[in-house]
Structures are given as structure tokens and as C-alpha cells.
Chain length 574, copies 2
């Protein structure tokens, strides 16, 4: 493709709408354009990257026996009412009526449609397992769409659904997908981690997220520095070793702490480190049939892990209790402690709290705290468990090595669904004994646009995008420094033609622009390789090859360029 | 792929919902499934054909310099209000509101979005021409969706838009697309015709439809038996030679024809052939600022071509006048004729009418007709023109050879838009003199699912689909006649493996089914080639190769199969 004909216009300034790097750079490099909030057009450069990611995904799904199909975006309300999700989804689901006033939604996901399809087309265990996938456009009416392709309202996803006859089959399908996902992100040239994710009520090791590692990532990822343990922070566990009492317990003491309410204020006021405090948090907890207030105790220097709390309570949802709920207990906010709560409400204590000695806690009396609080001696709790967020330096639950925390962007999620949808939609097959059984399902998603955006968040510098070779829109740009110099122009064109002839994806910057403009555009768009045909070297029949990622430069004889470039590309594309 | 693992279930019975062959066969062969009226899931077999058609289109668009992008399905109302089409589209446009009550539609087409994009990203004539295309899902809320993929509410289209600096540029882009479209349908292995289509007010040779020839086609196609002239029937012209008077005119005569109102009744009653009658039709004609009643005269054996009438009147729309409109003229329906109408309303006469001698016409008096009516002598008209539908046997307007009429299915449409959208959306570029000018646009569509359906309408027999090789879901099926015979099974598997090894798209029917079931399924799905490993031949180390289209059978040595099959496939895929 010649740059003069390529539908691309780069922007020097960053549009005000963009907050994150990938969004800024995709706009500036002319890869996407906004049509409405969370709704984008993919320009030719951007769409090339999207298609490359799609093709890698397609190959890996096919290699595991996946069969590609295409389900509609428009889905009848009836199916969603059967599964019970028509109500659950709320405002996030885009809904519409057709001319006959029949209700539809624009699919945010396709469990209902695929389950209904398989229910009608697959009758026997002999036809199982099947792995069905599509690469398709999904809709979610995000309350605040932002970050470009990272959180859009219309977005491209690969979703695969597995149907098995039993749990072993599901485990096998899940394993296949786990492997395929690793291959996908590896082949995209990304640094990623597969982390255990919380799977709520289903429990077990039934869900993994695939995270592209990036400082700007929205989620914390915990991983072991030595073994392969990795989990997202809300799911992560650690190896806990009881320390044993380090001092003798002292008598309880009440002290005046006027207006000293937060841990930070207390640390300063008392000159005692936060790890000596007991933090008492109140949660409003929701069940299907009731709600209640629950106290959660963690050490002053720890954060409660709400997912762990939620799983222990086996509740539908929870949130930090609003002030008025706590006020109902007639307790003074900022001075609340675990004493005397027992019997009034449920109290959950993090395991670390129970081994504290002579701790500081609220007194439940305004302007007073207690010193030398000793759990068990001074207060009782309903349950003790691991309730806190893991932090850097905690011990790996598998190998006791030191855990590290980094940030990542979720680009894939695999999930064992079980019979949730097959039971709701009465999707059964006949087993070996002719007995009807619900399909055992799994679902497996990759955000395609999100993967492109995450790739940029992981691979950029101050000049623009630094594409990994496998998903770069083009591999090479050829730049004649002076477009009016006939010799440079001719040599550049020859190199371009000979690269094209061996199917290298190459752009010739044939524009009549200053060299600075051409170099800036090349860096911004992020061509992995740049071939510069300039006055300095051309007399010796040499051109420069610059590597975008490393900044390395080498001089090559014109006739050696094609083979050299081909080899470089092949090395980086698996 | 092994048949036991392929997600396909064939149906012996035709589902009641299907009326046309392609719909029936796509359902029966397990290619599509209905999700809602006009909304389908494409199963793996069906989607393979769709993807093959898409890839042929993609290659041909790219070869003409087309650049692929992807525009959103969700489009903001504002853009459509700017172009004036938000109102025009009516109920056919699917509309929705997001959570903030902002109005959107699901794009039935993308002129607005692409024009807005190009307006913002292309500034100079130096960047022109550009040809931008997408293969994307479109939405039209058809009042009566039917015929499967032929007329859906959610469907896949390729739409390309050309942007040029002047009319010559547009002509060139149009020519490129015309050629590309011919290549596409040729490469799909379809018999098609590019026909001139009516382009309404724009006029000129500015629109072509691409029709797949099929008896079940919804449109009549006129083409020359000798030269390359072809047009859809509403557009078609013919060479008209005045016959000259064949007899002397006789005096006007009024005869009693009680209750004889239609041409057929008159033919019988008077024993005079229909070609001697003058048919007087009344149309209610709509303009932007008024409406009027117009009379159109054609010979009794001809049909008026409403498009020709519309173009001559240069009106917005017309329809056969409702009875009450005609009644306002105090004329007796069934006995109306051209006499005495002149001055009351506009009268258009087909050119053939004016050379009629001693014709029969209505008398404008109940129960009476007139004999020996002679145009000019007996009545005057406002305008004479070619106003009738061309029929088989008319003379070609280019070469005077005999015209033929066949039926076809419209699968593509190319159109010179000019500045309609660029002016409405103020989409300008700067020309060589720095002057702002609107882009000159063209648009070019192919219905992808429709092409698949049309391919079936053209290629089927009583046993099922007869896929053209280039768009068959798979090329070959290997069938061991007796799945329990180890020798047959082994040989079938070996053939399957060796075909796979050379990238032949092959299915092995490894199911434990009766031979009849396997053969029926193979024919229904339409594999172009069938390799039968059966008891009759296997002792001699031979297998049978059957050609689906011709029914030919040949016996091949097992070791010769792969090369033979490969050669057969290559021959048919261009």
C-alpha cells in the first residue's frame, strides 16, 4: 500500500476525549474514530490489527476442534426471560422493539441463543462434545463508556461455548481452551498471565482470567516469583503462618482520642503503627430473601477482600454499609470496635486479627479508643477466615515463595458454567441409557478490540505505538528521505516492490512531505521495521533498517534488504 | 472434519416456515436456523459458505485498491437527520434509545456514517480517490421477512463507497467496481448478468444490478440473445420500428357490450385479439407539491412500465388510481376510453398506440365500447413515448436481435450517487486551487447471505443442494459404506487423512449409520465430490468417485485418489 492512498490521517494533538494511552494513540495514529460514546469506526489500519487478532484466535479455536458459526446480534426477549436474565441485566442491556412491538435485545452475550440452538440440533451423547464459537459484535450500554476500545458499547468478541456430557468432559474442554488462550496471547506477542479468578457460587478452580500485563491495567494481579501460581487480587490466597504471641497481653485501657477517627490519624496521634490496629468495617449484605449488617475485622494495615467476604457469607451482593445503617446500632462512627458487638450482628474476623496482642480498637464510645485489646479475651467473633487482600511479599500458597503484585488488563475469561443455562432452557441430550440429561457447559470469551488496546498499553513509547510484529497493521514502512530525489524514489520503490513480491506487508511513504513528518508518522503508527532510503547512505548503495522497538539501526545493501527483512519478520511470527 | 463431530443435523422434512427452495434446503441441510422472524443463526456449514463468499469479495475489492474498514451498526440519529433520511426511512429502520434516552438506529446502510468519517479524515484532492468497504451486519425491519437469507431483518452485506474529486474519477471507480463484481460472481461459480437498472432522477447509465439467473428469481431480466445488452425489465428498452398503416381507417362505431369490462372478456365477446384494443389506465401521481390523475394508454396485449411513466412525469411516486379518484371524473369503470379525456387530465400514450388503426376502446359510457377508434383522428394525447414493459421477442435496442426474458435474483447493486450525501453532510475536500468541493460518491453493495441463497436457487436438484465448488462448505465427503467393516473404515480414514494433508476440505462420514442415510445427507448438503469406499470395489483396491452435479461416477485406485481429487477441485476454483 502506498501511504498517499492509505486512508489514514494522523493527529499531532491528542483529542480531549481520550484519557488512556491506547485510546490516545489509536486516535492519533488514525486507527479508530468515534461515532458516538463507546461506538467506534475501525479505520483500515486499525481493522488490519483487529483482523490479525481474529485470525490468530480462529486458528487456535479450530486447532482445538472449535467450529465457527455466527449467531445474531438481535435476540428475542423470550429467550432471556426463560433464563431469567431479562430482568437481571437492567440498563446495561440495549433493548428495542420491532415494528410489531415485539421485544428484542442486542446481545451482550450469547448463552441463551447458543443453548437454544444446541437444544434443538443436538440430541445424543454421541454428538458430544461440541465447541462452538463466533467472532461477533456485542452490545452493552455501559453507564460511562470510555477508554476507547477498552470499554465500548459496541465491541467485537470471540465467544466459544462448550457442551459436554459430564464434568470430566467439561474439564477437558476447559483445559483445551486454557491452552488455546495461552497460545492466542503468546502468538499475539503479548506478555500475559492466566490468573485464577473468582467464580462465585460455583466454587472450585472454575474460572481463569487472561491478563495482559500493563502498568495502566485496571486490575491487580498476584503472581509467584518462583512457581506458576497467579490469581487476580480478589481471588488470590497466601500461605499463612501463625506468628505466635510476641508479647504478653496487658490490661485493657481506654484513652481519650478526640476527633481522631481514621487509621492514619490514630497512627499519628498514638504513635503506634497501623498493624497494631483492629479495623472494624460494616457491610450491608444482601441475600435472596433478606438483608443484614455484618462486621468485618481486619488488621489496620490490611484491606478487606470483599469477594472473600461475599463467598464466606454466600450472599448475592454486599456493599460498605451506609452511615444510617450503622447509626441504627447506636455506634459512634470512627470509634467503633469489636467489643460488645457479638450477639447483635454477625462478626467475621480475618485470621490475622485473631493472633493480635495488645491491639488498638474503637471503644464504641465517642472520642475514645481502647488499648491492649486482645481477641478471644476481650471479644468473640462469629467466624474466622482469610478475608484480606493479598499484597506484595505475602507467601505463595503453593510454594511459599514471595508473591508479587502487578497490574493487568483483562482480555480473556474462561468459565465453567455447568448446567445453569441448560437447566433453565431445558436443553437436554440423551445419554448412553437413553436418559435425558442437561448439557454441561463452559463459556470462553476474548475481547478482540480490547486485546488490540491492551497490546498498545503494553507496547508504546513517547513517540507512539510499538506493535508486536504478529499484530502490527503492516510490518514495514519504506521511507525515501527526499521524495523529490529521483534516485531515492526509485530505490525506495524497488525495495517496496520486491517486498510486496514476497508477501511482506509493506507501506511505501510516497508522500511529498518533510522527512520529519514521515518519520513521526511511522513511529506513531508503530511499524515494527522502517527502511530509510537517504542521501547519507545511498551513494554506497546502502539503506538503513531501523527497529522500532529497540531503536537499533543497521545498514544493509539494497539487494540484501528483502531477505533480511523477511527473516526478521518470520522470526517474530509464530 | 469428521461427520460425527460436525455440528450439523439434517432434516428429512421441510419445516413449514420455508417457502422457497434455498430456504428449505438451508434449513434441511443444517446451514441456518431461525432465531426470530428474519433473524438467523448461521451454523458451521452455512457459515463456511458465507466466509468463502466474503473472502472472494474481499480479494476482489482489495485488488481494485479497496481498503477494508468496519463501521458500527449503531448509528446516532443526528447523522440521519442531517441527510434527511431519519424521517424517510419509516418503519423499516430499527430504532432504539440508549440509557440516556439518546436516539440511535441500527444501520440499514452506511452512507451517512462513511461520509461523515471521510469528511473529517480526508482534506485534500491529493488523498483521492479512496474506495472504502466493509463486510458487516445490516438491519432492516422488513414488514414481512421471508425466504430465509433472501429477505432477512439482520443480514450480512459488503458495502463499498467511492470518493472521487470529479465525475471522471467516479466513472473510473464505477468501472473498477463493475469489473470486480463480475469477477466476484464468476469466481463464486454462478451464472449471472449485470443489468442496467433504473437510477431514477439521476438518469444516465448510472446503476447496474447483478442478477443471479434462477427460475425462482423475483425480478424479470431482459437480455439480448446476440450482444451484451441486459437490463432489468423495468429499465429495459427495445428497438421500435413503425409498422405503417396496415389497413384503412373506418368510421367510428359504438356497440353494446353489457357488463363486458376486461380485455379478456372483450376478446371473447368481440372475437378480436387483444392487440387491437387500447387499454386506458389511470394513475394517481404524486409530486412534492401536488398530486394529479394521469391516463396512460397502452395496447391491450401490453403492460405499462410504471418506472418509464414515473421517469417521464418526473414525479416522486405513482400508483394505479383508486376507484374513487376515477369516479370523480364521472367515468364508468370498465368502459373508459381515451376520447374526450383531453383537456381534463394529462394523457400519456405508448408509442405503439399511436400507430393503431381501427382499434377498440372504451366509450366512456356504461355498457358501450367503440370500434374503429383511430388515434389522432379520434383523440389527442399530451405525450407519446415508450411506456411499456419489454417482452420476449422484442428487438434489442443495441443490435436489433431478439430479446429474451429470464428471471433473476438481485445479489449486487452498484450506483453512482454523485454529491447527494456529501452536500447534505457538507463533506468537502480542497481541490488543486484550494477551493472546497463536495466529494463525488458512488456506492456498491453485495448481499452476502443472499448470494449464498441465490447460489442454491440456481444449483439444486430433488436430492438437495448442488454447490458450485468455490463456495461449497466442504469439497469432498468420504463415505465408508459399512462403518463396521474394518477394511472400509481404514481405507476411508487413510483417504481422508491424505486429503487433509494436502489441504483439501474434506469430511469423513464416520457415523454408524445406514448407507442410505449417509448418501442422502451427502447429497442434501451438496458436497461436490463424494468418495465411496464400498464392498463392490474395495476388493480390487478401487473406490468410487461420484460427481454431485453430473451424477458421473468413476472408479479410482486408492492411491490415485488424492491427486485426482486435488486436480478436480483446482480446475473449478479460479
Amino acid at each position: 500500500m502506498k501511504m498517499s492512498q492509505l486512508m489514514v490521517s494522523t493527529l499531532r494533538e491528542t483529542p480531549a476525549e481520550a484519557e488512556v494511552v491506547s485510546h490516545k494513540l489509536m486516535l492519533r495514529a488514525g486507527m479508530i474514530r468515534k461515532v458516538a460514546a463507546g461506538v467506534y469506526s475501525y479505520l483500515p489500519l486499525g481493522y488490519r490489527t483487529i483482523k490479525k487478532i481474529e485470525n490468530i484466535i480462529r486458528q487456535e479455536m479450530d486447532s482445538k476442534g472449535g467450529q465457527e458459526l455466527l449467531l445474531p446480534a438481535i435476540q428475542p426477549a423470550e429467550l432471556w426471560k426463560e433464563s431469567g436474565r431479562w430482568q437481571v441485566y437492567g440498563d446495561e442491556m440495549m433493548r428495542l422493539q420491532d415494528r410489531h412491538k415485539r421485544e428484542f435485545c442486542l446481545g451482550p452475550t450469547h448463552e441463551e441463543v447458543i443453548t437454544d440452538l444446541v437444544k434443538r440440533d443436538i440430541k445424543s451423547y454421541k454428538q458430544l462434545p461440541v465447541l462452538l464459537y463466533q467472532i461477533q459484535t456485542k452490545y452493552r450500554d455501559e453507564i460511562r463508556p470510555r477508554f476507547g476500545l477498552m470499554r465500548g458499547r459496541e465491541f467485537i468478541m470471540k465467544d466459544l461455548y462448550s457442551f459436554d456430557r459430564n464434568q470430566d468432559g467439561l474439564d477437558e474442554s476447559y483445559e483445551k481452551m486454557y491452552d488455546a488462550y495461552c497460545r492466542v496471547f503468546e502468538r499475539c506477542g503479548l506478555e500475559y498471565r492466566a490468573v485464577e479468578a473468582d467464580s462465585g457460587a460455583i466454587g472450585g478452580n472454575a474460572s481463569h482470567e487472561f491478563m495482559v500485563i500493563a502498568e495502566s491495567g485496571e486490575a491487580a494481579v498476584v503472581y509467584c516469583s518462583e512457581c506458576n501460581y497467579a490469581a487476580n487480587q480478589e481471588r488470590a490466597e497466601y500461605f499463612w503462618e501463625q506468628r505466635g504471641k510476641e508479647e504478653d497481653s496487658k490490661p485493657l485501657e481506654k484513652i481519650l482520642t478526640p476527633n481522631v477517627k481514621t487509621i492514619v490519624q490514630l497512627e499519628e496521634f498514638l504513635n503506634i503503627p497501623a498493624e497494631k490496629f483492629i479495623k472494624t468495617l460494616f457491610y450491608q449484605v444482601y441475600y435472596a430473601d433478606k438483608e443484614e449488617l455484618v462486621a468485618v475485622l481486619v488488621r489496620g494495615d490490611r484491606d478487606a477482600n470483599e469477594i472473600k467476604v461475599k463467598n464466606i457469607l454466600n450472599c448475592l451482593d454486599l456493599e460498605l454499609a451506609p452511615e444510617e445503617k450503622v447509626a441504627e446500632l447506636c455506634l459512634p462512627l470512627g470509634f467503633v470496635g469489636p467489643l460488645d458487638l457479638y450477639g447483635k450482628i454477625q462478626i467475621l474476623a480475618d485470621q490475622e486479627v485473631m493472633e493480635m496482642v495488645n491491639a488498638v480498637a474503637g471503644s464504641n464510645e465517642k472520642d475514645y479508643h481502647l488499648l491492649n485489646v486482645n481477641p478471644a479475651r476481650d471479644f468473640q467473633v462469629s467466624k474466622v477466615a482469610d478475608l484480606r487482600l493479598v499484597i506484595q511479599g505475602d507467601m505463595c500458597p503453593k510454594c511459599k515463595s514471595s508473591l508479587k503484585v502487578t497490574r493487568g488488563i483483562e482480555v480473556g475469561h474462561i468459565f465453567k458454567l455447568g448446567t445453569k443455562y441448560s437447566e433453565a432452557l431445558e436443553a437436554n441430550f440423551l445419554d448412553e441409557n437413553g436418559k435425558a440429561k442437561p448439557f454441561i457447559m463452559g463459556c470462553y470469551g476474548i475481547g478482540v478490540g480490547r486485546t488490540a488496546a491492551a497490546a498498545i498499553e503494553q507496547n508504546y513509547d513517547e513517540n507512539g505505538i510499538v506493535w508486536p510484529m504478529p499484530i502490527a497493521p503492516y510490518h514495514v514502512i519504506v521511507i525515501p528521505v527526499n521524495a523529490k530525489d529521483e534516485q531515492q524514489k526509485k530505490i525506495a520503490e524497488n525495495i517496496y516492490e520486491s517486498l510486496l513480491a514476497v508477501n511482506v506487508e509493506v507501506v511505501l511513504d510516497d508522500r511529498n512531505e518533510r522527512p520529519g513528518v514521515k518519520f513521526k508518522d511511522a513511529d506513531l503508527i508503530g511499524f515494527p521495521l522502517k527502511i530509510v532510503v537517504g542521501p547519507k547512505t545511498i551513494e554506497e548503495n546502502l539503506v538503513e533498517l531501523k527497529i522500532r522497538r529497540t531503536g537499533e539501526e543497521e545498514r544493509l545493501e539494497v539487494k540484501a534488504v528483502t531477505a533480511h527483512v523477511q527473516a526478521k519478520i518470520e522470526k517474530e511470527i509464530k
